[in-house]
């Protein structure tokens, strides 16, 4: 009996380990750093840095829900950023039009990803791993090997039509808008995944592809749908990054892949859902950003932080795979 209880308690702790870790982090950092951690300014700061990771992690959540995988999401986001900035600065389009073109471009680019995965039948991991390099190369070819920022001429020497940023553009990357955009993305993904039948079908495919097909769900059609939704979130992420940097930096989004993946996998285990969910992803992103923020405040050098993020990802993956059955134990 005690054994059963112990097991149940262990399961509970494992299921809520991410939330417990967040609390422990907050307790530790506020005890150690006091008001410099727990101030309103720093909390806003945490939400700010959380938002980009969260939006890109939401994109990955949708792909991972139907058992897909995308390593090229963030390199594609960098490319979308170049297109967004080029439209806005080089060609002088207004913000709305630039945003629409950015979204359309990302969706079109994602068609190629889906072509490789659904038509050529390359495993997701391998196809997107190769695409990462394609995105990096083609993106830099487009920008001429440099960043796109205010006042810089195009690679062919033509001067940009717009030389300074509008108020609306800059505000996207600032509080409160960036935080509101994040919450809007999370809410949209949450409603889609949890409360529509299409979302349920994505999870059905992720849960057991054969059974889903036997239930009359068109696996390819819904994986395509998931890809298109992922593309939209990638585009939103790209625009937010550009606005926050007031430039399309070279490979500006590439480094978000790791924390975004970590956020999704941390979120998978939350509440014992064992599937990627929007709310779980927010918790995952929160954990990573709080850890990063707190450690920076404790003057841990920034160049060590990737190891911390990697450690969180490893822990999350261990939780996911430890609970799986040993395949040789048939």
């Amino acid at each position: 009996m005690a054994d059963v209880q112990k097991k149940r308690l262990g399961g509970f702790l494992l299921d809520w380990s991410a939330v417990i870790a967040i609390f422990l982090c907050i307790l530790f950092f506020s005890a150690y750093k006091g008001t410099s951690f727990l101030s309103f300014a720093n909390l806003t700061n945490i939400l700010l840095s959380m938002s980009i990771t969260t939006i890109l992690a939401i994109a990955l959540t949708v792909t991972l829900a139907c058992d897909g995988f995308d390593m090229s999401a963030c390199t594609l986001a960098s490319c979308s950023g170049y297109v967004f900035m080029a439209c806005y600065l080089w060609y002088g389009m207004n913000l709305f039009l630039s945003a629409v073109i950015c979204v359309l471009f990302t969706m079109a680019a994602y068609l190629f990803t889906l072509f490789l995965i659904l038509v050529c039948k390359i495993p997701d991991m391998l196809a997107t791993c190769a695409l990462m390099f394609v995105h990096q190369g083609l993106g830099q070819w487009f920008t001429g090997g440099g960043a796109i920022s205010a006042g810089m001429p195009q690679p062919n020497g033509v001067l940009p039509k717009r030389t300074f940023f509008g108020e609306d553009f800059v505000s996207i990357g600032k509080a409160p808008w960036i935080i509101l955009i994040m919450f809007a993305c999370v809410l949209a993904a949450h409603i889609f995944l949890q409360h529509t039948k299409q979302g349920a079908f994505l999870y059905a495919i992720g849960s057991n592809r054969t059974a889903a097909a036997l239930s009359g769900i068109s696996v390819k059609r819904y994986r395509f749908l998931a890809g298109m939704i992922t593309a939209v979130f990638i585009a939103i992420g790209a625009m937010v990054v550009c606005s926050r940097n007031t430039a399309a930096q070279l490979c500006g989004c590439d480094n978000y892949l790791m924390p975004a993946l970590a956020a999704v996998f941390v979120g998978r285990s939350v509440g014992g859902m064992e599937k990627p969910t929007a709310l779980g992803t927010v918790i995952g992103a929160g954990l990573i950003v709080i850890l990063e923020n707190g450690l920076t405040l404790c003057s841990v050098p920034y160049y060590i932080l990737p190891a911390v993020k990697g450690g969180v990802l490893i822990t999350a993956l261990a939780v996911v795979y430890l609970s799986k059955r040993d395949s040789f134990d048939s």
């Binding site: 529509t196 039948k197 299409q198 079908f201 059905a204 849960s207 057991n208 059974a211 036997l214 048939s330």
Partner: protein, 509 residues
């Protein structure tokens, strides 16, 4: 309820020239529970796949209530109310979904113009469905946490809560325990009595089939060889004979070795061995030095699980394994190999070979240390060994460098078994070693197995092919439902008798 008659006439089905079904006639009326029994490969599953629209290229006619219908897709069959529950429950459920979601997800997929995923409404409907069917399942449980029996109940409920006139159950009891089987039978009986659903019950377990069905069709080699009503005086021996068709003459070459074997020391012995998951139960066998012992049983009898257990795979819940009279604890295949046990696994392609590796690699894989010097492989020695092996085993191939994936099934199996010959094992466990092996290669392999035994190894040979067992083994254990039903001497028995035990017929008599 109106009368429903399902009739199939002259059903023929061919797979690349081989007749799987040969002019089969079949009829079932509403409320009837009809068993279809036969040994593996008799055509039972093929016939059911025709009925459920999976094989649209069938020949012959099918009538529902006298009207001719065409079953060209699973959807068309479902429209007529023909529903099938496949053998493997795990391929058809969504493990991360709750019971009520699993139950109703099909409905959701065909409904159009709806976006909302209304859990409350689904749960309510699922509760109604399960109450109406009298199935007790926790609606909110994740399907992955259900037992196999519960998963099967869930799948049956998923099929029958919609219009269902004919329910096909393909080997539904293969993985169920006794009590779970009883539960399933109660549900099936209730369906036939209250809903007047016709049920086709596929099984190669005669005892079970006779326990639930009102009528029975026996299939053998693609034909229905007998049909009869099930009443008190069914002659199980006669049915087994009908299942087997013609008697195949088996020759045993091991005559004269019997006396010598009875005094040889026991090498491998299990005592009341029980599987942690209940797939075999209280299995006690013994294999003597130089003896070839058969383990006869149909698919699902627990042979493979038992063989793997001796090789250290899977958890045991009781019993003991003794090797050379000493009790051993085999926690993993590494332990088993240390005790000089070799396993030739059932699924050659999945578990036995490295497709892109050469014949040389395979033949030397189990005894690599013989070809090593300070961990460096001596290639010339390996190739020489491989050439000798190819000659010895009669493998037809280009040369020893050929990749194993390009060999025929029989030759692959020769190589897989050949690698163990040099490894000097004491105990050889062969699980369905003749699967996909042609007749010529079979004789070579039999010779090889006999040679292993003559050299002093103990061989355990598990198979569902009784003639093969009779021709190569000294003794046979017949297994049914995870238990040993009988121990027979190959010299003194015949196919009918072995099969009689393998289908569990004594349980009925």
């Amino acid at each position: 309820m109106d009368e429903f008659i399902f009739r199939a006439k002259n059903i023929t089905m061919e797979f690349s020239g081989v007749k799987a079904l040969d002019k089969v006639d079949f009829e079932i009326r509403s409320g009837e529970i009809r068993a279809v029994v036969g040994i593996n490969g008799a055509g039972k599953s093929t016939l059911m796949k025709v009925f459920s629209g999976v094989y649209p290229a069938y020949g012959g006619d099918i009538y529902c209530n006298g009207r001719k219908v065409s079953l060209k897709s699973p959807a068309e069959a479902a429209k007529l109310g023909i529903r099938i529950v496949h053998q493997e429950a795990d391929t058809a459920i969504l493990p991360d979904f709750r019971v009520y979601e699993n139950l109703l997800i099909d409905d959701l997929a065909v409904e159009t113009g709806m976006f909302r995923y209304d859990r409350k409404k689904m749960r309510q409907k699922a509760a109604e469905v399960l109450t109406a069917l009298g199935i007790a399942l926790d609606l909110d449980m994740y399907a992955k946490n259900l037992t196999l029996a519960q998963k099967q109940m869930l799948l049956i409920a998923k099929q029958i809560h919609k219009k269902c006139r004919l329910l096909i159950l393909d080997e539904p009891t293969a993985a169920l325990g006794k009590e779970e089987t009883e539960n399933l039978f109660r549900l099936v009986r209730r369906l036939s009595e209250t809903e007047h659903t016709s049920v086709i019950f596929i099984s190669h377990r005669l005892a079970e089939a006779l326990a639930i069905c009102q009528s029975c069709a026996v299939m053998c080699a693609g034909r229905v060889t007998d049909e009869f009503a099930v009443d008190g005086n069914v002659d199980t021996k006669m049915i087994v004979a009908k299942m087997l068709g013609k008697d195949v003459a088996c020759h045993t070459e091991s005559a004269g070795r019997k006396e010598a074997l009875d005094t040889a020391p026991i090498v491998l012995e299990t005592e009341h061995l029980c599987d942690g998951k209940g797939r075999f139960d209280q299995v006690s066998i013994s294999v003597r030095k130089g003896e070839i012992v058969g383990l006869a049983g149909l698919v699902g009898a627990g042979k493979t699980e038992f063989c793997k257990a001796i090789f250290g795979v899977g958890k045991l819940s009781g019993g003991a394994i003794r090797i050379h009279g000493e009790q051993v604890l085999l926690k993993s295949p590494v332990d088993a190999v240390r005790h000089r046990i070799a396993l030739v696994p059932e699924e050659r392609r999945k578990e036995g070979i490295f497709p892109a590796k050469s014949i040389t690699f395979h033949l030397c894989a189990a005894s690599l240390s013989k070809f090593c010097q300070f961990s460096f492989l001596k290639k010339a020695g390996m190739e020489e060994r491989a050439r000798a092996g190819i000659r010895e085993l009669g493998v037809s191939c280009k040369n020893e460098k050929q990749q194993i994936q390009f060999l025929s099934g029989g030759n692959q199996q020769k190589v897989v078994m050949g690698k163990w010959i040099d490894a000097d094992c004491d105990i050889y466990i062969l699980d369905e070693p003749m699967q996909g092996v042609d007749v010529g290669a079979k004789q070579d392999l039999f010779r090889m197995i006999r040679k292993l035994a003559e050299n002093g190894a103990a061989v355990l040979y598990a198979s569902s092919d009784v003639p093969d067992l009779l021709s190569v083994t000294d003794r046979i254990y017949a297994m049914y439902g995870g238990r040993i039903m009988a121990e027979l001497r190959s010299q003194e028995t015949e196919e009918k008798e072995v099969m009689y035990y393998c289908v569990g017929a004594p349980l009925r008599a």
